[in-house]
Symmetry: C5
Subunit: 229 residues, 5 copies
């Protein structure tokens, strides 16, 4: 992970390092938890665990890259997001479906929405089309997903359900509202304003991932565990 | 995976990166799913999971190679195909056999057919014999496999079976018809026309693998899961 | 782990090497143990196992770094501590909760306390603010955690419980009192006095981790096992 | 596995690559199968799976070595054979013992025989003693093992048993007769005649391993599976 | 494992390579066996499996180091011994305790004895104190452990027990008497006489580990298996 000894003042290396070990450990706990949670909880837990592992994989590579070259670009981040964000959205869908029936169409809409959300930012960042358009499009898709979560069938299913599920859903949705908002904002500063992929922005991206990924997965796991312990 | 920080505009690195993480995560989900699906579903799920893992292994190595040398040849791809495509065909056989009795001879015919399909393309690409002949031969073997799937004993077994299996088989067969068609076409452009192993072709190959591998495995897993959830 | 052949007299390499293999092996035993301990013991065992694995990960990287560059800084250590110490504290909480009811608020207080304990030392070490302040703050958080362990709800729950749990809790608490005391002291010598990250200090840090991590995890595992064997 | 992009025409790299992924995937399937086969089948399946994994390990290293240095020697091959061939022979013993009682002495005789078979070739190849003598000795040990398989207690036990076991044993024995015959022949050409460790010989060695390892393990797994599916 | 292609005549590389693959495979078999052996056998099997894995880890690193630098020192070996030998002694303790009650004090005495046995050799080798003293001290601790095994509570417990356990204990003890005797002898030749860490000595060390580790673990596993198969 760190081929060279970096000082604590190197915040990027530190944040990448912590993100790697933290996502890896949380993924481990999620996978261990898989064998405990009751059957109906397996799918959301497995999906969020897979998202964590994919993210750990990214951060491991990212720290190596950073320490070797002292620079980081958005490219590898998108590689991670393309897998992680659809997985998380799918995890939320199956989380909600435990509370009550949710039409499978919702699954396709929000999963594809998440892929397009990443894709449009990606194309803007890669200069395939206008970055500003990329940001706006990705925000549109993000808002659509939020719409499904706040006013769609998932919300209806959860509203009628037991305390822990309702509480967990509330928090997950909140994190995806606030936490995911950071991404287009940072993207705007980075690409549109053209501040570039600076250290500060990298650390903020990492912190955002931290909240979005680890807390969400831990909430899923905790609610799933509530039924057993 | 990425020893250097690549920009989003480097589509090859991005596609390889996404393919690596995506196949790895899907393989993980398939292996996790193994412990859930009912016993008779284990074999097709295990085989498609193994195919995913073999492919993840290939893409991991491929991204490293690309980032180190900025070039990619067909060699490593064939290494992957030699294992992945027979595994997938075998997975389809055991998928169909769940629906009803299928003579084991079919298994040998389509598995060997898949190996020869890759081999003939390989020999053509490696210049052991005429590339055009390689393409034509591989297409012949591919069409034979399709013939078994459309008109053979597998189709008969599936036609009589329950909804999900029939639907899953329909989609898998469709993907193997359209998705696998891309391979000889790209091979023709690459080797016969002699466009060479360009970035565009590499990305298209990767996208083809994406559809052929991940969706097929997810369909197998989903149909298998239907029986439990 | 060791890319070069080092003599036994190279105490840093030796200590890093032993720490890597020892934490890795203990983590393995903890994860194996998971499938044996009775259900209520799973959570503390899983958490201490995860802490061991995260630490093994750190030491593996640390030995590589050391042998490649013959130098080590505090940076990577904090990367490990940020994950390991909160995990251990959480493990103690769930350990105590087996003995009797402990309000979940305690969990949040000591876990956040552990994160802040590491963070304040980290910020001091990184020069974000005054090192001495960092030491003092981290000691304050550490003492708060000890306070919870000695006089808080966890202690009450454990006091009423069976022999092994009470004994185990006593030892874990003792180790966290003495063993964790080494960290701020070494930090003080290293950063505040400015002795720098010398070989002697590195070895002492490693020995401290050794006691704090491996013995604590083994105690958790042993007490959990007592119920079965 | 492949640090550089090799063309399909590089048959050594291709064969090493395919061997790596194929043995790895087959080992995975064998280990997955372990949790399905009935208890009495576990030992032979586990042993052949272990043999596959050891071989995958060898081929992974071999491809790396080849691509880095464009040369391969017999040294690493023997490293693999020392572990793989005794494991396979042991696997056959426990395979036969399922059919009926086989004195444990047979186990010791054929396992030690397999070790000596590799050792004598190894010593000849390493120039510790006369290569021709090495070939002759190894063939003697190999013929002894075949003798046990054709006329020994294993054959008696199997002859009385059910169809699948008898059929499987027949094929395994046949492969060990023909497939293993390639090794001393290649060794003779390589060392005694002194053709050296050329590309052609390397590929033939790999193909031999392919047949000897993967097919044998798959037969063991298939026969074991017959009892369940 | 082998970054370069070495000839069979390079006995060190060959022995390191074989040791790596052999310990790794045996560890795999031990871990697989864990899920078969009856509950009371789990602990000794797990401990010897962990010892094998720790040793495989060492040998993997050792071969890499050797092939990269063509030299090996005692340093890394001690790293392995510090973990492996206490684990093995602990494994023997729990092996004996299955036969009958053994006071837990014996566990602490022989485990600490094993650590001190390695430590004293280590300090002598590292020049922290007189090598001859190191050898003598380590032999004293080793003889103490043997004393516990021959005349202590473990022997009493085993003597009254069933055939396989008594036989297994007899062999394990014998191996620890003869096999472990090689270590101080080699150490004496290496350090005290000052022959240095030559190729011959390295190979002998590896062979000693081979006998001490793999056979002992296999005996534990075999005796444990006797109860099931």
């Amino acid at each position: 992970m760190f081929g060279t000894a970096f000082p604590s003042s190197d915040l990027v290396s530190s944040s990448f390092g912590v993100a790697t070990i933290a996502t890896l450990t949380t993924a481990l706990l999620a996978l261990i938890g898989l064998s405990w949670v009751s059957e109906r909880w397996r799918l959301p837990v497995a999906l969020s665990g897979a998202a964590l592992l994919a993210s750990a994989f990214f951060y491991f590579e990212a720290s190596q890259t950073w320490l070797a070259t002292q620079q980081m670009t958005a490219g590898p981040r998108y590689v991670g997001w393309f897998v992680v964000q659809p997985l998380q959205v799918a995890s939320v869908f199956f989380f909600a479906r435990i509370a009550g029936p949710v039409p499978v169409g919702v699954f396709w809409r929000i999963t594809v929405g998440a892929i397009l959300m990443v894709l449009s930012r990606f194309l803007g960042d890669g200069g395939i089309f206008n970055p500003t358009l990329g940001v706006l499009l990705s925000m549109a898709f993000w808002l659509y997903i939020l719409g499904e979560m706040y006013f769609g069938a998932m919300n209806d299913a959860v509203r009628k359900s037991s305390g822990p599920i309702r509480l967990g859903y509330f928090w997950i949705r909140l994190i995806m509202t606030i936490g995911w908002a950071i991404l287009p904002i940072l993207h705007f500063v980075d690409v549109v304003i053209g501040a570039g992929h600076q250290r500060g922005i990298i650390v903020l991206y990492t912190l955002a991932d931290f909240v979005n990924l680890i807390t969400v997965s831990m909430i899923v796991l905790a609610v799933a565990g509530k039924e057993r312990f």
